[in-house]
Structures are given as C-alpha cells and as structure tokens.
Assembly symmetry: C2
Homo-oligomer: 208 residues x 2
DNA sequence: GGGGTCATGTAATAGGTTACATGATTCT
DNA sequence: AGAATCATGTAACCTATTACATGACCCC
C-alpha cells in the first residue's frame, strides 16, 4: 500500500500542518519546528526545508502569497495552503495513522548481523546500550513532566509517550537477549564462541 | 556521538559482512540479501547496491579481485574485503549495538501532528491500525516458527524477535491511547472535538 | 520461436545535506 | 569596535532511486 506522494519527505507534513493555522515564510516554519519541539519527531535541517517548500509549491499544495522585505534583510516569501494542500494533509495523516509502515531501524540491521561479533563482546555492548536506553527514558520522562507542569495538554505529548513505550520494550528485549546468551544451561554463548574460536570457558556448563 | 562513516548506508554493512565469508560479485550479494532474508532488515534496492559497492571500493574497504565473464553475460567483478574493511565492519557494528540512535519513525511524526484530525476519526483509524499490527505480528511469528522448524539457530532470528517486541509494545500503546480519547470522565475526546467544531455528543459526560 | 523473467550492469534524474554568503543584532 | 550569533537564502555536492539496456534461459 502506502501510495506514492508527490512530496514524500515528512518535513512537508509538518509544513502543511503549520500552514493550516496561518500563512508563513520558511524561516518562521524553521523556527516553529525547533521551538515547538517538532524537530524531535521529524528529521529537520535548514536546507531540506527550502527544498521541501519548493516541492510543495511545484505540486500545487501551497502558493506564494507575497514577498516582503524588512530593511536590508533578504526577502521573505510567505506561503499559503491551497485546498489541494489541505486535502493532502488529511489524506496523508490518515494513512500514517492507519497503516503501520515497514521501516528499517539501525538496531534491526545490527541484530541481523550481530553474529559477526564474538558473544563476550556483544554482552558487554548490550550492557552499555541498556544504560543509554535508561538515560534516554529518563530524559523523555523529564521532558514530559516539565511540559505538563507548564499546563500543556497531554495530547500534545503523545509522540513522546510512544517513544517512551518503545524504549521500554527495547530495554526488556535487550535484557532478555543478554540472559539468553549467558544462560549456563541453554545459553547461545557457547556455540557462538566456538564459532569465533574464542575461549568458551565463560559459557562452559558447570558439571558439578 | 555516532561518528560519520565514509559510507553510511546500512547496505554497506551487509556487504562487508558477506565479504568476511568469501569474495563475491555484486549480483551474488543481491541474491544473498534476498534469499537470506536480510532485505527485511536493511533497505535494499538493486541500484543502490552497485552504488554502495563503488563507495566501499573508493573508501578502500573492498577491492576488485578479478573480472570474469561467462559466455556472453555481462562481466562480473568479484570483490574482496581489505583489512580496513574488516576493521570498519567491527567498529560500525559495535557502535550500532552500543549506542541507540535517534530515529524518525513515521508514526512518531503522525502522532505529533495528530490533533489536526478530529478525534472520532482518529479513534477509527487507530482501530484499523490495531488490526494491521496484529496481522504483522502473526506474520512474523509464523516466519520465526517456520524457520526454527527448519533447524536454524534462534540467534539468526533475533532481529525478528526484536521487531515483534516493538510491535507488541506499539499495540498496547495504541490501545491505551484509544481509551484515553474515549474515556467518559477524563477523556481527551471532548475538548479535542470542540476544538474541531465537531458534535461532542459521543464524549458528553453522562450526568445521570 | 516469441514472450516472460533472470542475470547483470550503466545512466539519468531526483532528492537531501553541507557549505557558502551576507546584512543585522547583540554581547563584551 | 570586533566577535559571535541570528536571520535568511542560494548553490554545490553527494546519495539514492528509477529507468534503461541486453544477452541468456525457460515455458508453452
């Protein structure tokens, strides 16, 4: 499924959504992206924004409203949403909410090739990952609490709650994985280590 | 963190890893990617593979070994891993296992802008998402079971187990989210609906 | 023996990221 | 007043995706 959009970059989705509120010039979008914290959810970089705006204009989803200039600053072009644009926004959002997309997180790739590292090292690395995951969770939790304390409605933080849920799931997974490698009876570590020509002592079954 | 790699595409990681086993020509890599099912974990497309191979060669991680030709088929160039390549593979893998990377899943973006849709619709869409999530979980579960039945060691399926864990977490999250919208006392639906100028009947508190 | 599709690669195009440019403002 | 940073945009470069090309093999 997942139809091919004329403009596929998710930045474009944010732009469309901002323009439903009021016309804007690119720099203001840029500012909003960062201030409003949406840059945590959508990959953002200055250059791409101008590109995306162009693409949206070419596709007829937005149009130039006026070009103003203050003093000697560069001109700022203000854009407005068209009907087509409003439609695209809804349609796209609907699709994203309804259909889970197949994605390629880096950790998945790493896991699929992880046998290339020796198990002793993997266990160590996974341990460090657990720490970092805990830090990230704490950070998000902090962000959520602070923002809520400022009177923001929790609806505007769902994406952070979601991220948090995923991080927790990942942490549990990693813990289980470590145990599976280390388990003295049924652990995978032994075969794995042999395969690497590593000393297998750590994984040796204790025949008492 | 996350240092800048000379070749950043994860396809390159797979290529490096294949080449630790034996020299190969690009088409064989392509084949392996698909047969071995790694294309589920690493975004793959024919064109990009040749590009990545070029980049790896330019970076000195692999070198041409020989160029053979069978009959009138196009030439096939066989590549070997260099020491630098072997080193890059380990270093990269280590990083990916140790450091969780900040990523931008589509659903996160959608959630961050979801207030742009009216709550009644959102609930419906989320319901459909739940179904699809269940289907995907079933599919992965099936894949895992079949593969295990074929005698493959579970270590080579960790990435699928991981995916599964994430899908489960997402499902729970979505269920909770739906409840939060619908909850008759504390639900978010009401304010949200008003904000959209929707009839709020569904969310009206029943003052009996 | 003509129509698919497999094997194998190159070239054209579009997309995204980094670097550059330059007036304005603020800091010390 | 010079340094740093903000505001605003363009251009150059690199990456990735699609399209094109062509001989071989297989099916009916």
């Amino acid at each position: 499924m997942a139809k091919k959009r004329k403009v596929g970059n998710l930045l474009a989705l944010a732009v469309l959504s901002y323009l439903t509120r009021e016309p804007m010039h690119p720099y203001e979008m840029s500012r909003t992206l960062r201030d409003h914290g949406d840059a945590r959810s959508v990959k953002f970089n200055h250059g791409s924004l101008y590109m995306v705006v162009q693409q949206l204009a070419r596709a007829g989803f937005i149009v130039e409203q006026e070009t103003t200039r203050e003093g000697q600053r560069p001109e700022r072009t203000v854009y407005v949403l068209t009907d087509a644009g409003r439609h695209e926004l809804r349609d796209w959002l609907r699709e994203l909410v309804e259909e889970p997309q197949h994605e390629y997180p880096q950790f998945v790739a790493a896991l699929s090739l992880i046998a290339a590292l020796p198990p002793s090292e993997v266990v160590e690395l996974l341990g460090r990952r657990l720490q970092r995951l805990a830090e990230q969770r704490a950070e998000i939790r902090g962000l959520i609490d602070n923002t809520l304390a400022g009177g923001v409605h929790p609806l505007f933080l769902v994406e952070e709650e979601y991220r948090l849920a995923l991080l927790e799931a990942e942490s549990s997974f990693v813990e289980r994985f470590i145990e599976q490698i280390n388990h003295p009876e049924t652990g995978w570590g032994r075969l794995w280590a042999e395969f690497h020509g590593e000393p297998t002592a750590t994984y040796e079954r204790q025949e008492s």
